[in-house]
Amino acid sequence: MKDFLYYKPKTIEEACEILTRYNGEASILNGGTDVIVRIHDGLNHPKALVDIKGISGLKTISFSKEDGLVLGACANMNAVINHKDILENYQIIAEAAHTVGSCQVRNRATIIGNITNASPLADTATPLLALDAVVEVFGVEGPREISINDFFVFVRRTSLKVGDVVTAVKVPYYKELKGSYQKHSRRDAVDLATVCASVLMVDGEIKIALGSVAPTPIRCRKAEDFLRGKKLTEELIKEATHRALEEVSPISDVRATKEYREEIARVLVSRGLRDLMG
């Protein structure tokens, strides 16, 4: 691996200061399951890595009905999967996290790392999109919030600025949350999604988010708007699925062709909606 400097700041201010000083040439090291592979493979050449695991409080997962779920930046996937409050109130997040990599990877990888990588197929992105999560950021000007809906900009690009550190992701509490995470991949274990989908009923409203069908994970707003206030029927599902498909723009790559992805997206959306009928 190409050499780099390693920093392990104790405070968020210090982490932000180092990242700012390197002006985009330093990367954050959290679980490392992506950044280390990219350095190893010569895809990234950061001059420095800033390990944020020494900052206190970032591992915390907390929940209350008032504040919802707060997932600290350094909480790993396995901590999320096994967390009682998440299993009770946000099962879809646990389901999606459970499909990431292997047990070994999930002991290091984090949800915050998953979303900040901004891969179009990030497993935990679609549940967070469908649940209107909020990304908590600490930057040069102090703390601020970014809606997950404004977070993903392009393939591997987010609206984060130089010096920004995501400290947590917040998910509002919902009284009613139905639906599941669907991942279509070549293998059941240790694979990336060919297409993934979160189709949910959240406090009476249907939310649809898809992954790996566009440059970023997306919300299917047209289909959601169409379904608002309506009771699901086979006829409506057909039309809503059609509208959702108008919002996708997949590419062909090593995992699947564009046409295959469109077909799978169609199946996942209609299946997800049908599951919500019962």
Partner: protein, 158 residues
Amino acid sequence: MKHKINFILNNEEITHEVAANRTLLDVIREDFDLTGAKEGCGAGECGACTILVDRKPINACLMLAVEADGKEILTIEGLSVNNKLDQIQQAFIDHAALQCGYCTPGMIMSGKALLMDNPSPTEEEVKEAISGNLCRCTGYKKIVEAIMEVADKTNSAR
């Protein structure tokens, strides 16, 4: 620049100096001659480098050595006590759960981590626990049987 790290490696307290760009796998193999863990893919897909950090299985190829500061590390070499093999090592031998042996240390460490956490797993749980470990010779049947035997023994001893 080198970093001084303190960690526990197979029950021994260690102070060591490492460069930032070395993986934990590289350091345990090259500096400590613990060559059980291996680099297969270098990307967290094959599990041949599986070791336990604070009792949890991780891919040592995806962790920097400098991150091991303050951690407790267990590799396949630390499983046996006074030349007596751990039950799970013996079970792999008894079941002939290996052929070329390349994946074996990783398989055993994944199995060990599961059993430490959950002494009586179901077969499904065993399969899931080793789903991050690839074997390209024998298939997984005997490996699952070996891990299940240790689980069953633990259960009947209760």
